[in-house]
Amino acid sequence: MNEIQGQRGKGRYLFDRMGVCLCLVFALAVATLAIVLIPFDNTYLEGSGAGDAYITPFIAMAVAAIAILILGLFYNAMVWMEGAIGGVEAEAPRSRKLAVSSKRFFGAVFSRDFAHHFRIFLSDALLLRKLWRISKTRWLFHALILFGFIGTLLLDIVTVVCMDILHSQQFIEPLGWGKLWIRDFGFEFFGLMLMIGLLAAAGRRLARRSKQLVTGREDVVSLLFLLIVVISGFVLEGVAMKSAIPGHESPEIYSFVGAAFAGVLPPISAQAYAQLWFVHAAISFAFIAYIPFSKLFHLFAAPLAIQLEAIVERRAGR
């Protein structure tokens, strides 16, 4: 049986830690700068009367969530680096193992085999070709969740860039195409996909009692967390429509889910909208921070495992 911190020399141990710390500090600094430097214009809060009060805590939460996400990803990568890498001695510092394996991985992917690896990523990691062959229903549930999640995430990025950085009037004016098709319809569409997928997955776990489905705490928490994020987003949209907050006017046809929620919500003040917006943001950031420590980490690990397998197969000439 080995022992913690084995027989490695003190110098080597420090080198190991320093290498890791330097990489980590760099990643955290870049992420923090990127968030802090974005000139958030709080367009979402305009008209709610809440002003700038929520923006500073919002940025603080964003920085904290991204920092925890990066720390978590690093932590998991360091745990992987306890394992063996061909051609690297077992006692090598984990930072060196990480550097060697990253270089090999990216070297193999961004090579003349790039097209092959990209095809594998699309068919096996993103479109889950094998799951399609196993069960079309399960593939559909997973696709709704995955593409709903990716879609809302991408739209978030597009909105921040266009609205907060570029100040595109198309995203701010009530009848601008960006407002109608991205901020209204786009979020509704992908959010609805996500919600249907999550409800179907939860329903399957509740309805089917089979030895294939074993529901643990982690499964329940992950499903509920994501469901709360998406439902709180729809509630927020519904509140904005119900309260007719300036800047959030939206034709019902574009914000069809928000309109449905507005139909069942009581009238609410603009001030409460700002608070709800903050709560939705807080839950979303907490969810981002939770990813590396939950089963949702497979979002990163599964595509990586598929790509590693593809690299090994390619090297073996299969």
Binding site: M1, N2, E3, I4, N76, V79, W80, M81, E82, G83, A84, I85, G86, A90, K97, S101, D124, L128, K130, L131, I134, R138, S210, K211, Q212, L213, V214, G216, D219, K295, F297, H298, A301, A302, L304, A305, I306, L308, E309, V312
Partner: protein, 408 residues
Amino acid sequence: MSGARRRLDVSDVPVRSLVEFDACTRCGECSIKCPTGGEADEKEERTPRGKIRAIKRIRRIENNPLRRALAGEKRLETMRGELARSVYECTICGMCGEACPLSLDTIRMWEAMRSSAVKSGIGPMEAHRALISSIENYDNPWMQPRAQRGRWAKRHPEILDATKGEVDVLYYVGCTASYDPEVMRVAENLAEILRSAGVKVGMLGKEEKCCGSTLLRLGEVGMAKKLAEENVKLFRSIGAGTIVTACAGCYKTLSQDYPELTGERLPVKHVTQLVAELLRAEKIPLSARGEQVWVTYHDPCHLGRHTKMYDWPREILGRLPGVTLVEMERNREKARCCGAGGGLKTLDQGLALRIAAMRIEDAEKTGASVLVTSCPFCEQTLSEAARGRSGKIAVKDITELVVERLAK
């Protein structure tokens, strides 16, 4: 070291496998198809999903001082012991990898975890220790003297001593066919087939050593590496152009594991490939008409999911006169394991035979009168299971079927 705290040693587990543990989404496809935890018995902790969960839980506790303090060292030790038992209650058949929507390389994962168990002092299981010490002392897992290894060949003077002269083909017999009287037929059959084809074949006799498959499957990688290096040196000194083996486990080890252990790629063929090639070249004289027989074929895991040799045995069966192959519902990549592999038969014979009985049932459903396979260990286990049932179906090695149809 005093005061040092024990933990799972994963330093020999490939980083790729550690990534794969995190990639598992716990969908359960593997759990329902796992022969030990899903089919023969319903024991979640034995299934791949259950094991991955346990590994991750233990490592999380070990890496978190607070959780470690809360769990307590005694509890952690119990968890490690339970995990080790589950890791060895597995045939390493690879069905889980086949079922996995992400196609995780589960064979590598479980073999690596066994190596980790050995390094961590929680493996192998007590029942396996006799096999290991036998290989250490006698160069075979069956506690048989080295001198007896090639005794069966005395009835076959056409088999040359490869250590004394040049041969076309070196027949690597393997431990089971060398010592088990029931399985020795496989070696004799092969000798007869090669003689009829006019192939100059030799063997190593008492110089032959275990290939190390048992050691590798049990996680004793260090010992296996030493054995592999000795064997490669011996094979090189003989200089045979082709090494042939009738054992699926030996074939997997020589063709797949040796290049990783020694860096040397050997010119090894499984008997099914060699015989199929000889049949294709019409070098094996077959009788014009054979007795009509309906057979079904069992893909051994080491020859199937491990090394993807699905077509050679089927080509042989297709070329034998009078033989009609009827496939089982689960064939090729989806074939059910016989239950014997990965040291399971030594650890829990009852469980191994329950799995074998399910395979016999699969075979009986086809209506075939003979269940053919191409692995001595599968044949041994399936025969035992068939005897335990009504005995409606006979179990034969593929070489036996060929010998029955040789032109006299």
